[in-house]
């Protein structure tokens, strides 16, 4: 057995790798290298849970033959002594686009149709796309990944809703693809984002992407069952890819939940690329059972030196900076499976430091290693060959001088499939330290640092620094530094040997060419006092401060979710909205989330008593038309989008929820926008601030859908006019067409014959069957009349006309049809079709017997719907009691919620508001807003929070300043914009 030089080893390894049996050779003889290589005397992490000391790793042909403490070495073994060194299995990144060029924007295809044929009708569904068709091994990126410890990556084309198959590639710089491809089809990739290569507009929102995926799965089944005569290569590929690892690019906690929801409905468990914010609702994330591919692209501290700018930074942004590094730990502590990825890092180099940061913040090293080795290997079903150094595994491993997660550890070599990639020379001696040397009667100080990585030298003469450069290779240094003569710009050159680590021996050549002997002696290390920066670092390392996570995790969130209480309001003016009318000096008892008693002199021994003398207690306000708390509002990619639902995109972190509570609002209908005649389904929610999106939705929520008429649906202000309809005339035909088809669909379905399940048709059939209600955006009388006639033709009733600003012109017809009107109090003049909008509309409709509500469609107005209701007293002389019903019991009726909410009646939900004054008065403020006995808004608590927010922000600003003082990079302050959504707000989330 012989010791070999490294270069030779590389040569030998590569030799063996290229020897593919059936490939002819015309450059020499075909010769196999069947030698073994053994790495001896090393500390070997065979797997995250198994560490061997003084062990041997024996490899051959790019695979592990044996690992252990007493491995018998065959005679033809080349031995590498790794005393004092450590071996780890190399890392795996499940989520990269390695070797794939960024997809280019393109296509001049149609906006409202596909640009391909023979494939699925939607261009953004591309399961047939194969990453290998575009793959080009990228040695530069591979080297970058080697430095971080990665040996194998999964790569895919990051484009489209379904993006096709990914491949598992070994980062072997000394082989060809035949060797590198560990698996050419390992995964199928999905996302909510459209392909940049197609102009097809649908889906234009997250909820559209979700609906599209659902319909795609249904169609794939229908295709697999042989019901489609023609060819669809996309569906064929989708069915073929079924058993691959399904990786979903969610990119945030909220989208992670959404992706999982889509998968669950079709028994697909996605492995999901997260956002790093999973800790904000860890319980919900855990319930998905999904394994998360976790980015660690922790934010830089914001540059908060300028208080004017710092002032605009939101608490939630500051908390993200502070809390994100805790995310990996929190996932681990909660038993959530995750793999780590370099995805999302602007500079891949920061992977190592960010990982160290996660560990500083409590992530165990074992978990970290698992997340980089065994977990990704297991997910891909490759545990037998990847993720550990068991016999039969690829010889993918790292050689270090110690604990791989330690800051000071040096990574020497990254072996992939038996090929070494040198990161740092492991034979190099560390010569860091302070030296002194004498030259021509002067005593110089020499400081060397980072000698094992990128050596740096500093030469000083009498405390004056002389510009110095050093190179250090194979036991020799070359040092050049300037002479003290500042006018001449001349140099002294040194060459010295480092074999003796305490002394550097060689010669110095002066500027005049004279060579002198050079001896530099290392001075013993002094225990220097720690610098301030180091002290800061130590302090931080000891106890990383973490801002408390609140529900939701932004300003005004709850540190602990509030509980339902037994509450007794004494001596209030009680607006019952029932036969009893308005009761003076009355008590109301709330228990178990319900109104328990209304009367005089009530008592309850466990109740918290609230003195309501001089105050008014009412049912909570219900906003029939809201667009707050949603991640998207419009799916305008088609003229009908009945398949989408706002329930998919509720945003439980919207500050508007809190602000609406402060205005006495307890329930809202989040309506789809008015981009198309048949819009999407509604979400009807209670504003339970702090609860997760799914828990805001009413139990057994009545089913609603948004329809729309007029200027918006005919795209009056759009520059491209290619979507039908472009006139009110066309709008009618869209409805007649869809309902005709839905009727036929429903009949086929009910006949028991096989039918292609179509989510859009299912929804429309629900309308025909009276199971789903329409709230229709409407302005002028002609179209209002039209829709009622279409409904009558198909034997159903329109439930609500919303906006309905010319309702007063056809109030008698509305009454006869049985439709309600949900209108603005006084809006008009904002577009042509509201020329005849009048503030007396609510009064006239009400007087004609129509159930009238006043709504907001606006996150500002919804905060003071009590004032808007009061305008009906001014405009049209509605009584105060009736006007109040316009924002409480009437919207409850329109939303079919009146058995639960909308009035104060024993047995109904305790959704109440305590007002400081007459609720219709401009002078009234909501003092407490309560939903099911839980106080979600309280004026006194709000005051405290306003102060607490300031305190917490100051603390975080201090921490950020500490980061900056440490010399860490910062990012400029971002000003978080408030999205104000209206009917015509288009989604910005999907490209």
């Amino acid at each position: 057995m012989i010791k070999v030089h490294l270069r030779l080893l590389i040569f030998m390894c590569s030799f063996s790798l290229f020897a593919q049996d059936y490939f002819p050779s015309n450059t020499g003889v075909i010769a196999h290298n069947t030698n073994y290589t053994a790495f001896t005397n090393a500390t070997i992490h065979v797997s995250p849970t198994e560490v061997l000391d003084q062990a041997t790793l024996l490899i051959k042909d790019g695979k592990v033959v044996k690992v252990g403490t007493s491995v018998k070495l065959p005679n033809n073994t080349t031995k590498v002594d790794l005393s004092g060194k450590t071996i780890y299995p190399s890392f795996i990144d499940l989520y990269t686009t390695f070797g794939i060029e960024k997809p280019k924007r393109g296509g001049d295809g149609p906006q409202y149709g596909p640009s391909r044929s023979g494939f699925y009708w939607n261009d953004h569904i591309m399961p047939e796309q194969d990453v290998m068709s575009q793959f080009k091994y990228d040695e530069k990126s591979a080297s970058e990944l080697h430095q971080l410890g990665f040996g194998v990556v999964n790569t895919h084309i990051p484009d489209g809703v379904v993006r096709g198959t990914g491949a598992l590639i070994a980062l072997n710089n000394n082989a060809d693809n035949a060797m590198r491809i560990v698996d050419g089809k390992i995964s199928q990739h999905l996302s909510f984002s459209k392909s940049v290569k197609s102009r097809q507009r649908y889906p234009s929102s997250i909820m559209g992407s979700m609906a599209l995926l659902r319909q795609m799965y249904l169609d794939a089944k229908w295709y697999a069952d042989g019901h489609i005569e023609t060819k669809d290569l996309s569906l064929e590929a989708l069915n073929k890819n079924k058993n691959l690892l399904q990786i979903f690019d969610a990119g945030s906690r909220a989208n992670l939940m959404r992706a999982d929801k889509v998968g669950d409905a079709f028994n697909v468990q996605y492995t999901i690329l997260g956002g790093g914010d999973e800790y904000e609702r860890i319980n919900e994330v855990k319930q998905t059972n999904a394994t998360i591919i976790l980015p660690i692209d922790f934010q830089l501290a914001y540059d908060v030196e300028d208080p004017f700018y710092a002032n605009t930074l939101s608490l939630s942004a500051m908390r993200s900076w502070n809390q994100e590094p805790h995310n990996p730990r929190l996932l681990a502590e909660n038993g959530i499976n995750f793999a780590l990825t370099t995805h999302g890092l602007k500079s891949k180099k920061t992977f190592t430091s960010n990982l160290q940061k996660a560990i500083e913040n409590g992530l165990s090293k074992q978990k970290a290693l698992e997340a980089l080795t065994t977990i990704p290997a297991a997910l891909m079903g490759k545990s037998d060959v990847l993720g550990s150094l068991k016999t039969g595994s690829y010889a993918n491993f790292l050689i270090t001088n110690g604990d791989i997660f330690d800051k000071k550890t040096v990574l020497y070599e990254n072996w992939v499939q038996g090929t070494p990639h040198i990161i740092n020379n492991k034979h190099i001696t560390n010569i860091d330290g302070q030296y002194t040397f004498n030259l021509a009667g002067e005593t110089y100080q020499l400081t060397l640092s980072e000698s094992t990585k990128k050596p740096k030298a500093k030469v000083e003469l009498k405390d004056k620094s002389l510009g110095a450069k050093i190179s250090y290779k194979a036991d020799w240094i070359n040092l050049t530094f300037k002479t003290t003569d500042t006018t001449a710009n001349t140099f002294i050159r040194v060459v010295a040997n480092t074999a003796n680590s305490k002394t550097l021996n060689g010669k110095a050549i002066l500027a005049n060419g004279i060579a002198l002997p050079f001896v530099a002696e290392q001075t013993p290390k002094e225990e220097t006092a720690n610098t301030e920066a180091e002290k800061d670092e130590e302090r931080a390392a000891k106890a990383p401060f973490m801002s408390p996570i609140t529900y939701p995790n932004l300003a005004y969130g709850f540190t602990k979710k509030p509980k339902s209480e037994t509450l007794l309001f004494k001596n209030a003016t009680v607006w019952t909205n029932e036969k009893d009318g308005i009761l003076e000096h009355t008590d109301v008892l709330i228990k178990d989330g319900k109104i328990s008693k209304i009367g005089k002199n009530l008592s309850h021994n466990k109740a918290r008593v609230i003195d309501a003398t001089g105050k008014h207690l009412t049912a909570g306000i219900i906003d029939e038309h809201s667009h707050i708390a949603a991640a998207s509002i419009n799916e305008g990619g088609q003229n009908s989008s009945a398949e989408v639902t706002i329930e998919d995109v509720i945003d439980d972190e919207a500050i508007d929820i809190y602000r609406n509570l402060a205005g006495g609002v307890t329930s809202i209908q989040i309506l789809h926008g008015s981009a198309n005649p048949i819009g999407g389904r509604s979400a009807i929610i209670k504003l339970k601030w702090g609860e997760a999106a799914e828990d805001l939705i009413y139990d057994d929520a009545p089913k609603f859908i948004k329809f729309a008429l007029g200027e918006n649906v005919k795209q009056s202000r759009s520059r491209t006019n290619t979507r039908f309809p472009q006139s009110r005339m066309g709008v009618e035909q869209v409805f007649v067409d869809y309902f005709t088809r839905a009727k036929a669909y429903d009949a086929l379905k009910k006949s028991g014959q096989p039918y292609r399940k179509d989510i859009e048709m299912e929804t429309l059939a629900e309308i025909l069957n009276g199971e789903r209600f329409i709230s229709c955006h409407s302005y002028v009388q002609s179209e209002i009349n039209m829709l009622m006639k279409v409904a009558e033709q198909f034997d159903f009733t329109i439930n609500t006309f919303t906006h309905i600003l010319e309702g007063y012109k056809v109030a008698d017809k509305m009454k006869a049809h049985g439709v309600g009107g949900s209108t603005f109090s006084d809006w008009w003049a904002y577009k042509y079709e509201v020329n005849d909008a009048i503030p007396y509309n609510a009064a006239i409709m009400h007087n004609a017997g129509v159930t009238v509500a006043i709504n907001s469609d606006d996150a500002e107005m919804s905060r003071r719907l009590n004032q808007e209701a009061a305008k009906s007293v001014k405009y049209g002389g509605i009584s105060e009691e009736e006007a109040w019903k316009f924002v409480t019991s009437n919207p409850a009726k329109l939303l079919h919620l009146d058995d639960k909410v909308g009035s104060l009646k024993v047995g109904k939900d305790a959704d109440v508001v305590l007002w400081t004054d007459h609720p219709l008065s401009i002078y009234a403020k909501a003092e407490k807003t309560i939903i099911e006995g839980v106080t979600y808004f309280d004026l006194a608590r709000d005051k405290q929070l306003q102060e607490a927010i300031k305190t917490e922000k100051s603390e975080l600003i201090n921490l950020m300043l500490q980061d900056k003082n440490k010399g860490l990079k910062t990012q400029p302050v971002k000003r978080k914009e408030d999205k104000l959504m209206h009917c015509d707000t288009m989604d910005a989330h999907v490209h």
């Binding site: 605009t312 006084d826 904002y830 007293v873 001014k874 401009i922 922000k953 408030d978």
Partner: protein
């Protein structure tokens, strides 16, 4: 008392005579009249219960408590208003009524002009007296306002008008009262087409933009001090700022912007400055007071700008400023600002729920804007010698429920309270057999 009218009868007669020609401006006052018994809200913080107000030739000639103000004149109409309330006409500061009719119809939009520095652009000549939106102001007591061009760094020159006129010459109360500037923004949007994050980030051009504005003012001063024969329209238009004949309005919302704007105006020796918007004016209230700078406070009914801001930030800001002694008026700019201008009284009302007294709140839309606009000699309060631009409401005019007008006058001319909207209301009520 003689000649006592039944108000309903009067209203009825008016409807008959005027029919639906609600746009017809009221004729000049020919006969003296007195409003008797109402609570008079003077607009300067005072209230007179059971008041008598006598109006002659468009001016208030007498105002006082009924007990001590005997009515002597015979040839006078008496408007019995016991239990009712009289207010000075509300004034829309920083308004844009008459410049746009329908927001989304470009052809009806004359709000802003091309270019960055447009001091010479004059809003008054585009002011559309026939606007249906304007007539809808009057039933809410909103009778006067500033007509302000928007856009650019220097938007142009505004004028002050009354809302019942045949043409802009009739309408104007104060011609070319001020110049409007949009202070450079502290933040700018990322250029997404260059691959930048489209979010808001610090505006690196801020200092440059301030300097540019400053240079523009300097150039203009030099021009106006000299005797150049070649007319420079924009520089010419700025002259009034330096001789005190024009007011400078600077739109600025944040603390730094406001501070820089005030210092800028001082350095430029501009006499009259008002900050428009002033979202963070509360933070520099004392500084504003010290420098005698007034504020047109942004729409009270607006959302907090930043996620962390107090939910009631916009509601309570007026109180903070008033308490610090700053002269404050309310302005309506924002989405649908023209039609929403009729809600001005309710903006004021909301400040009462959040700390001000009713009398203080009333000042924000009467005497204070009159003072800032420089029309307080004739308008803004119910005082002898001032114009009889006032209205009678059934109740508290700052509250929606009771802001119900029976009479409104501009310069003593009795206005029609009919509008396009009341006409439709009557027509369809009648069609549906509803009594209005």
């Amino acid at each position: 008392m003689k000649n006592k009218y039944n108000i309903n009868l009067l209203l009825f007669l008016l409807c008959i005579t005027l029919g639906f020609a609600q746009q017809t401006p009221a004729p000049k006052q020919t006969k003296d009249f007195a409003i008797v018994g109402a609570t008079a809200h003077i607009g300067n913080g005072n209230i007179i219960e059971n008041s008598v107000i006598v109006v002659s030739n468009g001016k208030i000639t007498t105002i006082g408590p009924e007990a001590s103000t005997p009515l002597t004149k015979q040839a006078i109409d008496i408007i019995e208003a016991k239990g009712k309330h009289v207010y000075p006409g509300f004034i829309v500061a920083n308004g844009t009524l008459g410049l746009v009719e329908v927001d989304a119809v470009k052809a009806s939009d004359d709000l802003s002009e091309l270019g960055t520095y447009n001091p010479h652009i004059r809003s008054i000549i585009a002011y559309n007296t026939e606007s249906k939106v304007i007539e809808s102001m009057r039933p809410n007591g909103v009778l006067l306002g500033q007509v302000v061009p928007r856009g650019g760094r220097i938007s142009g020159t505004s004028s002050v008008v009354q809302y019942d006129a045949w043409n802009w010459e009739d309408a104007v109360i104060k011609m070319d009262d001020g110049i409007h500037v949009n202070w450079p923004s502290s933040f700018r949007r990322g250029r997404w087409w260059l691959g930048e994050d489209p979010g808001l980030k610090p505006n690196k051009e801020y200092n440059k933009q301030v300097k540019e504005l400053s240079n523009y003012f300097n150039e203009s001063k030099s021009y106006n001090n000299g005797d150049s024969k070649e007319l420079h329209l924009p520089f010419e238009a700025l002259a009034g700022l330096f001789d005190g004949s024009k007011h400078l309005y600077i739109n600025a919302d944040n603390e730094k912007g406001i501070t820089d704007a005030v210092n800028f105006a001082k350095a430029q020796e501009v006499e009259k400055l008002t900050i428009v918007g002033g979202y963070e004016a509360g933070k520099v209230a004392n500084f504003l007071k010290q420098n005698d700078v007034s504020v047109f406070l942004r729409r009270i009914h607006s959302r907090p700008e930043l996620e962390d801001d107090d939910y009631d930030q916009s509601y309570k800001l007026a109180k903070q400023l008033v308490d610090a002694g700053v002269l404050v008026a309310l302005e309506p700019s924002g989405q649908m600002e023209r039609m929403n201008s009729r809600n001005l009284p309710f903006y004021a009302g909301t400040t009462v729920a959040h700390g001000l007294t009713k009398a203080q709140a009333l000042q924000l839309i009467t005497l204070n804007p009159a003072k800032i606009l420089g029309i307080d000699k004739a308008y803004g309060s119910l005082e002898v010698g001032k114009s009889a631009t006032l209205f009678i409401s059934e109740g508290d005019a700052l509250d929606m429920r009771t802001n119900i007008l029976t009479h409104a006058f501009i310069d003593g001319r009795r206005l029609s309270l009919e509008t396009h909207q009341t006409e439709l209301w009557r027509r369809y009520s009648k069609k549906l057999n509803q009594a209005d």
